[in-house]
């Protein structure tokens, strides 16, 4: 085994080579992705059309963006169950600010981003300084964000937002949908943060051994604050895309998306206990999930059966990949 094969945290990516790739923690997620793609391609003619590929990527974008923040959080050994609810709340409030309060749309979107960031930071404060378990903190904020969104909107979706906002959801640059571009940009920023900055190393260190990180002088509480803040921010960014796709603020959107995002992260080879994993793996994991949904739909499989098949494929993919963890 080569030296940095198992690191997962190091992500030494100077120059690509096949051998290197095969020993990287991305190998298994990639193999999973390719296998599932080929299977879907065989089962359905439309699968490999450019059109459908863009279609899959566009569908993936919302969960894909949520999964970025989730990756940061999981790498530190935490979890964020509130992402879907925060996304719905931010979307609802942004739409409300445009429609009911008459704020200019860009301002409303920006305030939305700040709200997402704020909720994320609140989670971070509770986890870092309140020393409470992340799963409970974010479970509680998940319920609270859902409730607030419903209270604000009275349970109705909020429509009537400026039509140009649909650009975020359905616009294209060339053949590439705008949400896909946004997603890729967010992944690029995340990659740089994790692999090329001290903050990124501290994220991994926290997940590897929090006590050791703290005793050696890493500001563990600030790192935690930051990762939950990032997760709140990516939830808000996902809300912008979703609002563009749905052309309305939906207080009940995104239910269960937290589990999809977690699945994407873990399918991408990140250890659920933190400390090991690559952000590119998360992207692969998200696309893999998207392909499963899309492919099973394309094949016209009974929707109930889809759940069963999806579960089985996820198990299989993780089983094959388990050596790498």
């Amino acid at each position: 085994m080569s030296h940095d094969a198992n690191t997962g945290s190091a992500g030494k990516t100077g120059g690509f080579s096949l051998g290197r790739l095969l020993h990287s923690p991305l190998a298994l997620p990639l193999i999973g992705l390719i296998t599932v793609s080929v299977l879907m391609g065989l089962a359905s003619d439309n699968f490999f059309s450019l059109n459908n590929i863009m279609n899959v990527l566009r569908q993936v974008s919302v969960v894909g963006i949520l999964a970025v923040g989730m990756s940061f959080v999981i790498l530190t050994g935490g979890i964020d169950l509130s992402v879907g609810a925060v996304m719905a709340l931010v979307g609802t409030l942004s739409a409300g600010m445009m429609v009911n309060m008459g704020l200019p749309a860009p301002v409303a979107l920006l305030v939305g981003l700040l709200i997402g960031l704020g909720i994320g930071l609140a989670n971070g404060v509770l986890v870092a300084w309140g020393r409470m378990p992340a799963i409970i903190v974010t479970l509680a904020t998940m319920g609270m964000a859902r409730g607030l969104g419903l209270i604000y909107s009275g349970g109705y979706p909020i429509s009537g937002i400026p039509s140009w906002i649909s650009w975020f959801g359905v616009g294209r640059v060339g053949v590439v949908p705008v949400p896909v571009i946004v997603m890729v940009l967010i992944y690029a920023v995340a990659w740089v943060l994790l692999q090329r900055t001290a903050f990124g190393r501290h994220v991994y260190a926290l997940g590897g051994n929090e006590t050791a990180a703290r005793l050696s002088g890493v500001k563990t509480q600030r790192v935690k604050l930051a990762v939950y803040g990032i997760s709140g921010l990516t939830s808000a960014l996902a809300a912008v895309i979703l609002t563009g796709r749905l052309m309305s603020g939906q207080p009940n959107a995104g239910q269960g998306f937290e589990l999809d995002a977690i699945a994407a992260v873990v399918l991408g080879g990140t250890a659920i206990s933190g400390g090991r994993g690559l952000i590119l793996g998360t992207l692969i994991g998200a696309v893999l999930l998207g392909i499963l949904n899309n492919g099973l739909n394309l094949m016209g499989i009974n929707p109930y059966l889809q759940d069963v098949i999806k579960g089985a494929i996820i198990l299989l993919a993780i089983y094959i990949g388990r050596e790498w963890r």
Binding site: N46, R58, L150, P157, R245, L246, P251, N297, L298
Partner: protein
């Protein structure tokens, strides 16, 4: 002290359909000077039973029951009757000794929507059903729809997928549907929530696919009035359901002995022609 206390338990409250029901209930109760307790089961029968039990602890006089599941809620109906409470099922029926059931003709709704769709397609082409959460009213709409589609021999039902009555889920599902069925000409959605997602997907694809649905939600009516792929929704009358339901319960409380067991509320086709005037 002898203020009338009305409890209503909803299967969900993050759907405009039920929210408007709740609004009508509040208005009606205010005019009676009655207290209202409302709970949201979030599609969980077990929680709904608990909600009813909690209401019984509060000594309600009338229970308006919008069951998540007709069979599962039976225990709550028994408990309520045992506590001497008048029970009226609203929108979907419940098993057990319910005093009255007030609800839409869901089978008719599905039938009318799909009939409209079939006619709009001039009796031929591929259509798909966007299904929802498997509860009786939804299943009845699908049943009605299929019955209507069978009247058009040249129409084929090529796909059924589940959009879970959720706009974002339906959006993705319909996008995929359109990819896999390039000749798709029409979609029937079991409710307007799913239909709005389907509409976004159809518009995104730029294809000419006609869409019908059930409910009559404000957003859907607006979209129909604006023209485009969304051509029809078979409207229900949620506010009227509650009003009639409450009236039935009051009648019984006042001693009426021949309250009807079932009050079916008609449904109505809303299309581009009458959309402008329609609202719940």
């Amino acid at each position: 002290q002898d203020k009338l206390k009305i409890g209503m338990t909803f299967q969900e409250l993050n759907n405009p359909y039920f929210v408007s029901m709740q609004e009508a209930l509040n208005e009606a109760a205010a005019s009676l000077g009655a207290d209202v307790v409302v709970t949201d089961a979030g599609h969980d029968v077990a929680k709904q039973i608990s909600d009813v039990e909690d209401m019984l602890q509060q000594n309600i006089d009338i229970l308006l029951l919008n069951p998540t599941d007709s069979a599962g809620i039976e225990a709550a109906v028994h408990a309520a009757k045992a506590a001497g409470v008048t029970v009226v099922a609203v929108d979907a029926n419940a098993n057990g000794p319910v005093d009255t059931f007030v609800g839409s003709k869901n089978r008719d709704a599905g039938y009318m929507s799909c009939k409209y769709l079939g006619e709009a397609l001039e009796g031929k082409g591929e259509v798909a059903i966007l299904d929802g959460i498997p509860v009786v009213p939804i299943l009845q709409r699908v049943e009605g729809c299929k019955a209507a589609l069978e009247e058009f021999p040249e129409i084929t039902l090529v796909d059924t997928q589940n959009g879970r009555q959720d706009r974002s889920v339906a959006l993705g599902v319909v996008e995929n549907m359109i990819q896999s069925k390039p000749n798709l000409a029409g979609i029937f959605s079991v409710n307007d929530g799913g239909a709005m997602g389907a509409l976004a997907a159809i518009q995104g694809s730029g294809k000419d696919i006609k869409l019908t649905s059930v409910d009559g939600a404000p957003e859907a009516v607006q979209a129909i009035a604006a023209g485009g792929p969304f051509i029809e929704t078979t409207a229900q009358f949620p506010r009227d359901q509650v009003r009639v339901g409450l009236a039935m319960a009051l009648a019984q409380k006042w001693g009426a002995r021949v309250v009807p067991k079932e009050v079916p509320i008609d449904v109505m086709v809303v299309d581009a022609e009458n959309a402008a005037e329609f609202s719940w």
